[in-house]
């Protein structure tokens, strides 16, 4: 197993954990309505989206064509 694979495995597992906790945090935040709470909702949501991107990267869905030329 080369370094890149290890990195991908760690990233994948980490992304799932972070995604889960981000969603739990988001659910806790959802009923609140202050300005800071609303901004946090948006930012936590985007962070969860970032985890999705990481998962996609781990499976090589993105970038298309596997990089390089």
């Amino acid at each position: 197993m080369d370094l890149a694979t290890i990195e991908k495995v760690v990233a994948f597992v980490g992304a799932l954990i972070v995604f889960a906790f981000a969603l739990v945090g988001l659910r806790g935040e959802w009923p609140k309505n202050g300005l800071d709470d609303n901004v946090t909702k948006v930012l936590l949501g985007l962070m969860a989206f970032g985890c999705v991107l990481v998962v996609l990267a781990c499976f090589g869905v993105l970038p298309h064509g596997g990089g390089g030329a």
Binding site: E7, V18, A22, V39, L43, M47, G50, V54
Partner: protein
Amino acid sequence: MAVSVATHGHDAHDDHGGHDDDIIYQETRDMRLMGFVLFLVSDVVLFSSYIFAYIYLRNSIQPNWPPIVDGHQLPRLDTAFAAFNSVVLFGSGVTMHYALESWKHANKGRFNLFMWLTIFLGLDFLGGQGYEYAHAQIGGWSGNIFGASFFTLTGMHGIHVFLGVCFLFALWLQTQRGVYTEHRFFGLTAGTLYWHFVDVIWVVLFFLFYLW
């Protein structure tokens, strides 16, 4: 003349000093919060400008990306490592969120744990960026437009992360010195928002430089 003046509930509070103080705190906190969010908005514009520049420069030399410099095709950046490093940063965002939640629930032990986890993950991310900078074979900062965009944007983000780590550390020191209470912790709110903002900027940069 019709006098239309709204009357409101909280007008029976002129007896105990503490109550008045609370209202003053609440109003100033709301103003500071709004000001801070507007500051974040203007920072978003700062990043957006450079992101626009990156997309513009990239489109100007389509379809070769990364560009060909002196007849030599530049390699793509290391996506696997970046994915790992991204998870580190996103993770720190989540721990920061839980740190603030712990503070709101007056759980000091958990607050300290999550705070230090956040600072540690932030530093880890910065170390990873250093590693990335040392290994990115894209001609350095001033070599070509790819290097220029990459190092400028991620460098600016890195400075934000570094300032964020300092910010969080200062906040932690303040909590140890008892600056914040269970009900008054605007600094922690601001720090959390700032740290989330830094993370979310990275979502965009990660996509632009590694996944596009």
